[in-house]
């Protein structure tokens, strides 16, 4: 499922809303999560999961083609941990 499919389905389920508004709502959610992570904050959505950032130290990497050592700077990576409810639903699957 893509973002546009998500918007289309939510619009169909909420006929009283303009699809432009649904688009804004979906964009707002992901923009807000992005902004929070950029500020170094975490986003916790009970039942769904938590978005956090993790600090990665600088390291010496290798160009996999040439084998040459390449310095990799320290960086921050976004991380998502599924919440208990979602984790269990995904593991169980719908068919089970």
């Amino acid at each position: 499922m893509t973002k546009s499919e998500l918007i289309a389905e939510l619009s169909a389920a909420n006929p009283h809303l303009l699809s432009r508004d649904v688009e804004t709502i979906v964009a707002t959610i992901f923009n807000e999560i992005t902004a929070a992570l950029s500020r170094g904050e975490r986003v916790e959505l009970r039942g769904f999961g938590a978005f956090t950032i993790k600090q990665r130290d600088a390291r010496t990497g290798r160009n996999p083609r040439t084998g040459a050592a390449v310095p990799v700077d320290e960086k921050v990576v976004p991380f998502f941990k599924a919440g208990k409810e979602l984790r269990e639903r995904v593991n169980r699957g719908k068919s089970a």
Partner: protein, 103 residues
């Protein structure tokens, strides 16, 4: 470290879209619910500019209780993984935002 919750996201939707607070909360819930159902079905959810949530099948392996050292079988299971997009990675690092095709 401060934490952003449903209440914050609801408030942002309320101010940006002009729906009532109740309806803003309902829509946020609807977005999360629809994404959850897709993932439960084993589908990937791909949000361009943000990242991709996908379901990965893991095989059976032998784990170990780290405290006692006893071997415990870990049964095959399905886990959710999130791959952040290049755009999201750039944002959190405050580096230049890549343009063009985003995976």
């Amino acid at each position: 470290m401060s934490t952003v919750t449903r209440a914050h996201l609801t408030e942002t939707i309320y101010t940006q879209v002009g729906l009532s607070r109740n309806e803003s909360a309902d829509l946020l819930e609807a977005v999360l619910a629809r994404m959850s159902t897709a993932l439960e079905d084993g589908q990937s959810v791909k949000i361009s500019g943000f990242g991709t949530f996908s379901v990965r099948q893991k095989g059976r392996r032998i784990g170990r209780n780290p405290k006692t050292g006893t071997e415990v079988p870990i049964l095959p299971r399905r886990v959710l993984v999130f791959r952040p997009s290049q755009v999201l990675k750039a944002h959190v690092n405050h580096t230049a935002i890549p343009t063009g095709d985003d995976e």
